[in-house]
Symmetry: none
Subunit: 225 residues, 2 copies
DNA sequence: CGCGCGGCTCAGCGTCCCCTCAGGTTCGGG
DNA sequence: CCCGAACCTGAGGGGACGCTGAGCCGCGCG
């Protein structure tokens, strides 16, 4: 579960971040409205915690902007003042809930869980490169019409490469993101798994989507090979 | 739009009723938990406003009872005290939102609208995947022409998977949503019940609607297998 | 009271996956 | 052409994961 916390009060932001991380969430931070909007656009978060009073761009505007782009990520507003119109306006602009500062961590958690339960049942976008398709939600991969069965690790690797298709991705970066960073395995696993992927998504179709860039890493061709 | 207001403080209840009627809602009243539960069961309301402190049956219990019956009417809790655990418990019991008394009418309206917006999105009457049909209201399941008898737990599990058909649903998520989170059972029950379901809805028909995605969870195929 | 049923736990088993290792191959530089 | 570095690949061990049959418990009912 990935959360985004947009909050200009740095101490509070960090406290919330630590608490939520302790609960097992992955938490990104932004400290002003513009940065928050940027991140929310790209980040595919499960929930966004959004302060109303923000420098650069108010939380209210951020909600408006996201909704205008048909981005339905669940938004939990944080409001310092309890001026009722602010909150009501925020909700009408498309936020899903709000909390009044100061709030207790227990309440925050309960609200978050409620939002997550509810979910923005909008599916994450399908990743595509040529005729190669990967659906993160359904956890399926197809090339043309044929479905391809991948193991967990293979899937994670291909998803990462697809998200950065066209770019060269270093072996170290793959190790860090696709494998758990705690006890890093032999770098050789990357080669091994690239081999597995090639045999599943390239060889049977006589294609070459996965390119080795000697000394630099690997690249998934944007056109699918 | 029909609303139900369950509130023992008669003057407040009537005030809210008048206000909401002025906004164009149809508003029924109940003044204790038992009557509220009765009405909520039969009434097909779009939203229920529910006081937590109620004679006969607390609002918290009413939520529990309705959710246990898989009645997903959107519920907005009204709480007099602001003891955080009450609100958190209420939300965890399945309420959708809460307001702390005293609340302003503007905020109440905004929250209501947020709930209505949300509520309208989901909750289709009958869930379908291929020739597999599940009717939550009638509590029936059929595959093609044949009716299938399921136990309570099997039904709940299948319903959840159907609501997210095509997506992979993690074991933890199933535990959290299909089983009560209070005393979480062994994760193995999920496997056990998936086995039961397979024997009832897949094996007799020589189909494979329920797919295991090793390391990730289970997926109910959108086309029914 | 005995019985059946539904819900759950447990332990055993088979399978699949992940990772390592070692030997082979390719590539580029000198 | 030679050499080393980088990469590929087949084989295999060990562990994680999921499935299933057996069994226990509580409950409702005849």
């Amino acid at each position: 579960m990935r959360l985004l916390v947009v909050e200009d009060e740095v101490r509070l932001a960090r406290a919330v971040q630590r608490g939520l991380q302790a609960e097992g969430f992955t938490v990104d931070l932004a400290h002003d409205g513009r940065a928050g909007l940027e991140l929310a656009r790209k980040g595919r978060y499960d929930v966004v915690l959004l302060d109303i009073m923000l420098p650069e761009l108010s939380g209210y505007r951020v909600v408006q902007a996201l909704r205008a782009e048909r981005n339905w990520v669940p938004i939990l507003l944080l409001s310092a003042k309890d001026g009722e119109y602010d909150q009501a306006d925020g909700l009408d602009a498309g936020a899903d809930d709000y909390l009044t500062k100061p709030f207790s961590f227990v309440v925050l958690l309960a609200r978050l869980r409620a939002l997550l339960r509810r979910g923005a049942r909008e599916r994450p976008a399908v990743l595509i490169a040529g005729d190669l398709r990967l659906d993160p939600a359904a956890r399926t991969v197809t090339r043309g019409e044929t479905a391809i069965a991948l193991t967990t690790r293979e899937f994670a690797l291909l998803e990462y490469l697809l998200r950065r298709r066209g770019e060269v991705v270093g072996k170290a970066e793959l190790l860090e993101h696709v494998w758990d960073a705690l006890t890093p395995p032999e770098p050789n696993v990357v080669e091994v798994y690239l081999g597995y992927l090639r045999r599943k998504i390239d060889a049977p179709f006589d294609r070459r989507a996965l390119t080795t860039v000697r000394g630099a890493g690997y690249r998934l061709e944007a056109d699918g090979g």
